[in-house]
Amino acid sequence: MPKPVPQPDQLSKPFWDAVNQRRLVLQTCTACNRRQYPPEPTCAQCHSATNLEWQPAKEPVRGTIYGYCVMYDSRLIPLHEDQPFNIAVIKLKEDPDIVFLSHLPGTPPDEVPVGGEVELFFEELKLAPGRLIHEWKVVK
């Protein structure tokens, strides 16, 4: 699937750099021990801008399928050929407040095991060869 290509900025560059090295890092506020994704300029809880660090997610990175829908009529023209496709919402197992999105590659449309476990992997972006994006696959 020709996923749109994310364009890193100053705030997000450490995240995407890590993804390109097949690592998942999460912005963490060391003052209140709170993780946030996507990253923000300040901690959304204590508003600290100086205590934010990038910390690695716990390996192996696992998540739970919280919910999903099936796209039949995307607004993004480059994705039309792949319709229908799943879009799932994944809760990070080590911190369920952190939510990721996924197409669940390998899982047929509308056959998504809600509540099932998924594992992180890295997918090469078709539209940007050599660049990676974080994805999830069903493990049970």
């Binding site: 749109p4 996507p38 999903y68 009529d73 999105l101 539209l127």
Partner: protein
């Protein structure tokens, strides 16, 4: 200087503020809708969004029985709902001669455009509300309540130019979209997955929405101002709903309102002034705005339900009403899979959390004991996000025609858009 957007900090966005300081001191004195059409033909400037806004505004003035010179302010939601028209848009179409030499008047209508082109010579106070007509109503109520203007027009022009809109060939995304676009996540998937979560939590199914959608269309066909009543007076069936194509399963094309080209205008003034105008005043008891912040990439069902509960709490607290006091209820329905959150949260006619879809199976007709969403909403009339507001005024005046509810109609609430971002108005036939 261009008109400023009213900041969120001056809206009522949280509980604990108490009763609105201008409760019952501001009123709606006039309402007007332009004709509706599916799309603009791209050539006839007499049916442009700007021209339709002038028609709606003049109807609102006539309804109130006042002249243009009595308007001293305009509050608009100036943004369009579809793609832009001109050179900067995907299609790159050329502009026209003034006053159609920018997007203003072609895809939306600003306060400044209306003042200039309608000749509202006495209108000195202008503000804009960002999200939709409901935002503009909240701003307008506060503007009049604060004494920044006495008698204003609140307007929204909504354009639907030729072609299918919001189709993008873009392959690179920055800013907040860098996190969502690669997975094709935006509002519609959020609604669909959220509804799926709702069904899993409460043991409901998508087909249970059918009675609500059909009732919206039935009510819409009783709204002479609506698109379907004017252009497509055919009543859909349950089979149509169940067979409708998926856009984002479990949301079908019939769960989504149809874009149209039209405009609306209200005259908002002080309660005192309204009592001297042509129509029976409909007083504003409160306005409330939800500006929810989510914890991570997207909203969870818990967050959606908390947002909806907060909207209801704000509406009731600021107006002094309770669920038992609410007669007419017109919550947002442009995506019908949002509406259950509002019905659950407001507790209208005793509905409790998780019960909305069961409630749809009862008698929700305008003739019956539970006339839910008597406007027909956006689903039954076309996308404007203001049919609910319009219907509340008509119901409380006793001017809703065949949609007039048989139950008591002394209080009303309407609002839009999403549980996370929406604006609501509470109305009453009495200022007290």
């Amino acid at each position: 200087m261009a008109t400023e957007y009213w900041p969120n900090s001056r809206l009522r966005t949280k509980t604990g503020l108490g009763v609105w300081e201008h409760r019952g001191k501001v009123a709606v004195a006039g309402i007007g809708f332009s004709p509706t059409m599916r799309r603009w033909d791209g050539a006839d400037l007499s049916t442009s969004v700007g021209a339709l806004t002038i028609i709606a505004a003049q109807k609102a003035l006539d309804d109130a029985g006042i002249s243009k010179g009595e308007i001293d302010g305009v509050v608009a939601c100036p943004i369009g709902m579809g793609d832009n028209w001109g050179p900067e848009s995907v299609t790159g179409r050329p502009y026209f001669a003034p006053p159609y030499d920018t997007e203003d008047g072609l895809i939306g209508t600003s306060s400044d455009w209306l003042i200039k082109n309608m000749g509202l010579w006495n209108a000195k106070t202008t503000f804009h509300g960002a999200t939709c007509f409901n935002t503009a109503m909240s701003v307008g109520a506060q503007v009049v309540g604060d004494g920044l203007a006495n008698t204003i027009l609140v307007i929204r022009g909504m354009g639907n130019p030729p072609g299918r809109y919001h189709q993008s060939p873009e392959t690179n995304y920055s800013g907040p979209r860098q996190w969502s676009a690669p997975f094709d996540w935006r509002l519609e998937p959020l609604i669909a997955y959220g509804f799926d979560q709702y069904c899993r939590k409460y043991g409901k199914t998508h087909d249970m929405v059918a009675p609500f959608v059909l009732n919206q269309h039935r009510n819409g066909l009783l709204m002479p101002e609506g698109y379907y009543a004017q252009n497509r007076p055919e009543m859909p069936t349950k089979e149509d709903y169940l067979a409708a194509r998926w856009v984002v399963k479990p949301m079908s094309i019939m769960d989504m309102d149809m874009p149209i080209q039209t405009a609306v205008a209200f005259v908002v003034t002080t309660g005192e002034r309204a009592r001297g105008m042509k129509q029976k005043p409909v007083y504003i008891l409160n306005h409330a705005s939800q500006r929810g912040v989510v914890r991570s990439t997207t909203e969870t069902l818990d967050e959606t339900e908390a947002f909806a509960a907060n909207i209801a709490a704000m509406c009731y607290e600021g107006s002094g009403l309770t669920a038992k006091d609410l007669d007419v209820f017109n919550p947002y329905d442009g995506y019908t899979l949002f509406t259950q959150y509002y019905l659950d949260a407001f507790g209208w006619h005793g509905v409790k959390r998780g019960e909305a879809l069961d409630f749809y199976a009862g008698d929700i007709s305008v003739e019956g004991p539970h006339p839910f969403s008597p406007s027909g909403g956006n689903n039954g009339n076309g996308r404007t996000r203001c049919w609910g507001q319009y219907d509340c005024i008509q119901q409380l005046r006793g001017q809703a025609g065949k949609r007039q509810v048989n139950i008591k109609a002394e209080t009303a609430i309407a609002g839009a858009f999403t549980p996370g971002t929406s604006d609501w108005t509470v109305y009453c036939t009495s200022p007290d």
